[in-house]
């Protein structure tokens, strides 16, 4: 065999080997790409060459009705320690620096940093501080402190903070501070909304986070997917009115040495809540003491959003509902006379007036003006009877949720003859607001039927919902017509007259207002508290077409127990400012303006 033949055979052999190898590779490629295990290979490739990322959309912002920002988003930074990167020096410097910078106990930080976390299988820890009850609470810093710490980490001359890491996270901020805190609720560090608007609209505000695989080997040019963003909300609240009401409430609480209180301002024509104030205030920027696990079983802890979640016995403000029922059924008229002997017996239980006196001959207007328990108990038990009284109270929504769009609403309590624990004396006491529990928003909603010519509107706090697709305006919802227009207007007129006679503390020059005071005892497990009362007032105006309603509730005032002394002046102060802020001219001026217009 010559040399040429050998060379040719060798070349052929090499080509055969290479051809076989290429063929095997092609077969394997086809098998990997299209064979039965192709999905497994694809998944492995994806797992190894990409990482899962979660994109959380920005939480929707909340505005007041004029566009003032009430809730927005900012950043905070968790302080974490990668324990494997700690040095002996940084174990000393991290606690020392943080202790000085954040004014925290050195020992606690030192213990956290020097604990042998690795032995427990933990290699990254989040530093904590002690909360008010001594429990651990994640330690966070704001942007300014984070910049200082990052400066230290970058500077070789600065204290050795090796192992310290700042992890950015979104944070909810409330620029108005405590103003409208009870209305807004708050958002915790995990981004979950609690109470108020934040709790009720949590899912809408939060949007929908999405997860996706980002290719890292090799890096691919792909845009981060845009998750569906949370909606922006515009509230019915007017921040200026809210601020004014909160100031009035605070001054009233301080001057009367009361324990707590609430004020709600609502437009009776459409149910828009213009202000909802509560004392003690809630600062949503520092919500820690208000978290559910810290308030749920705490005896005596203040209720969050008490305007919808805090029940009380309404006392005399409830009398307007009993009177409305009797007028609507034509069982009494404004001029119907009643001889008040100072006491009445209903179901074997003797009911007396608030002052124990007998007031003699009175009309129904006089009964309201002097807030006579005996008269109203007579109307409830003699003129109406249990069937009609409770039917009307049901129509007014007493004992039912109003459906207001705030988290935590409770329904109050009304025993009716259907309940096993109802007794006949309840008929008499319920008639003047005792033995029944309502929330402020519930009473205001019920009374809105009287102020709004018979139509009871659903209270609401959100005026506008703006999503990516556009804006949605919730419509006014009439949830009932418990009484006729004529009854409502007659009762409003009676209450205006009785108010003019009852208390001078609730009048505003140039405006005709209607309203009713209330002084209720506080029920305890051992009967009614002999010392403390709830002083309240519910009023509306200007007549004849009211544009605002105000409910004032002051709990446990020390200087005087009476609604006419404690709550009515708050109504007056608020009404005086409201007519200016809402641009409502006085009655004489409005008539003149109507002529001119």
């Amino acid at each position: 065999m010559n040399q040429e033949g050998v060379t040719r055979r060798r070349i052929r052999f090499i080509f055969m080997v290479m051809g076989t190898a290429v063929a095997a590779l092609v077969v394997q490629l086809i098998r990997v790409q299209f064979g039965p295990y192709a999905p497994v290979f694809a998944a492995r490739a994806e797992y190894g060459a990409s990482q899962v990322e979660k994109v959380v959309p920005a939480r929707g912002q909340i505005y007041d009705r004029k566009g003032t920002l009430l809730a927005s988003n900012a950043s905070m930074f968790y302080l974490e320690v990668e324990v494997r990167q700690l040095t002996e020096e940084s174990k000393r410097q991290i606690p020392l620096t943080l202790s000085k910078l954040l004014v925290l106990p050195l020992e606690d930080l030192y213990t956290q940093v020097t604990t042998d976390w690795a032995a427990m299988g933990q290699y990254r820890i989040r530093l904590t501080r002690k909360d008010a009850e001594g429990g651990p609470w994640p330690l966070t810093v704001d942007k300014t402190v984070a910049e200082v710490l990052n400066g230290f980490l970058a500077d070789p001359e600065a204290p050795d903070l090796s192992g310290l890491d700042l992890v950015s996270a979104p944070k909810r901020t409330y620029p108005a501070g405590t103003v409208a805190g009870h209305v807004l609720g708050f958002v915790n560090q995990e981004g979950q909304g609690f109470y108020g608007v934040e709790g009720y609209y949590d899912e809408w505000l939060a949007g929908k986070p999405i997860t996706f695989h980002r290719a890292s080997i090799p890096i691919e040019a792909e845009l981060e997917p845009d998750p569906p963003a949370g909606v922006n909300l515009v509230l019915t609240i007017d921040l200026a009115v809210q601020q004014m009401v909160e100031t009035a409430l605070k001054e009233a609480i301080e001057s009367s040495l009361a324990e707590s209180g609430q004020v709600i301002v609502m437009d009776p024509r459409n149910g828009e809540i213009l202000a909802m104030a509560a004392w003690p205030v809630l600062d949503p920027n520092h919500y820690e003491p208000w978290l559910p696990d810290k308030t749920a079983d705490g005896e005596g802890n203040p209720v969050i959003t008490p305007g919808v979640a805090g029940t009380y016995e309404p006392g005399s403000t409830f009398k307007v509902l009993t009177m409305a029922a009797a007028l609507d059924l034509d069982r009494v008229k404004p001029e119907t006379e009643f001889i008040d002997t100072g006491q009445i017996e209903v179901g074997g239980h003797t009911i007396r007036n608030w002052d124990g006196r007998s007031w003699g001959q009175q009309t129904m207007i006089g009964c309201l003006e002097h807030s006579l328990n005996v008269c109203l108990a007579w109307i409830g038990s003699d003129r109406l009877g249990a069937t009609d009284l409770y039917a009307y109270l049901g129509r007014f929504g007493v004992g039912s949720l109003t459906g207001v769009d705030l988290a935590g609403e409770v329904s109050g309590e009304l025993r009716t003859p259907r309940d096993p624990d109802w007794t006949e004396p309840d008929l008499g006491t319920n008639s003047f607001g005792q033995g029944v529990a309502v929330t402020p928003i519930q009473l205001l909603t019920a009374v809105s039927a009287i102020a709004n010519h018979g139509d009871m509107v659903q209270p609401h706090i959100v005026r506008q919902v703006v999503g990516p697709q556009g804006a949605y305006w919730p419509q006014t919802t009439v949830i009932g017509r418990p009484i006729s227009r004529q009854t409502a207007d007659t009762l409003t007129d009676m209450l205006a007259k009785s108010l003019e006679g009852e208390t001078r503390y609730a009048s505003v020059t140039g405006y005709r207002l209607a309203g009713k005071t209330g002084t209720a005892q506080i029920a305890t497990e051992k009967g009614y508290d002999p010392k403390w009362t709830v002083a309240s007032f519910v009023g509306w105006g200007p007549l004849p077409d009211p544009q605002f309603m105000v409910l004032v509730r002051i709990d446990k005032p020390a200087t005087s127990p009476w609604g006419s002394v404690i709550a009515a002046p708050v109504f007056q102060e608020i009404a005086e400012r409201l007519v200016v802020m809402l641009g409502i001219p006085p009655n004489a001026d409005s008539a003149q303006l109507a002529v001119n217009g």
Partner: protein
């Protein structure tokens, strides 16, 4: 009769016998050609991937920048709201000698053709963008098969 093809093959065989190096050069040339084609394809592939990775990194940087700008915008909005909060403004107004107006301080006038200010409408949040990837050139995302299909499709539509 001898066919032309058989004659050429016979001439080549004869030439190969005369000078074996000619055949080796031919084979070497073919192999080199294949190698060069392979290297060119590999080079193009690497260049494309490098460009892709660079673009990917740039996208990441821009996304981070966008997030940062959104965060800063939000924080500035909050700061502005904090500085104009009613409590702060009331305090400033008080210092300037103003006081809250009561009914006696206000005079109501009829103004013909008065147009009240428009009601506030909140800004729309950003929509989920399903077509976001369309902002990127297909060169960054399509495979060779995709490119071929697109090229064939565009050729057909052009004809």
């Amino acid at each position: 009769m001898v066919r032309e093809g058989s004659g050429v093959r016979a001439k080549r065989t004869h030439a190969a016998r005369q000078a074996a190096w000619r055949l080796q050069v031919r084979w070497t040339g073919k192999t080199m050609l294949l190698a060069i084609v392979f290297l060119v394809v590999s080079g193009v592939y690497l260049a494309v991937n490098a460009r892709l990775a660079r673009a990917g990194r740039e996208v990441l940087t821009l996304e981070d920048r966008r997030s940062e700008l959104l965060r800063v915008t939000s924080e500035l909005g909050s700061e502005l709201a904090t500085r104009t909060a009613p409590e702060t403004m009331l305090a400033r107004a008080g210092v300037l000698g103003f006081h809250p107006a009561g009914p006696d301080d206000v005079v109501f006038l009829t103004i013909d053709d008065y147009i009240p200010p428009a009601e506030f409408v909140a800004p729309r949040p950003s929509a989920a963008d399903d077509d976001g990837q369309a902002m990127l050139s297909p060169a960054y995302t399509e495979t060779l098969g995709d490119w071929l299909m697109r090229w064939i499709g565009s050729s057909e539509s052009a004809s």
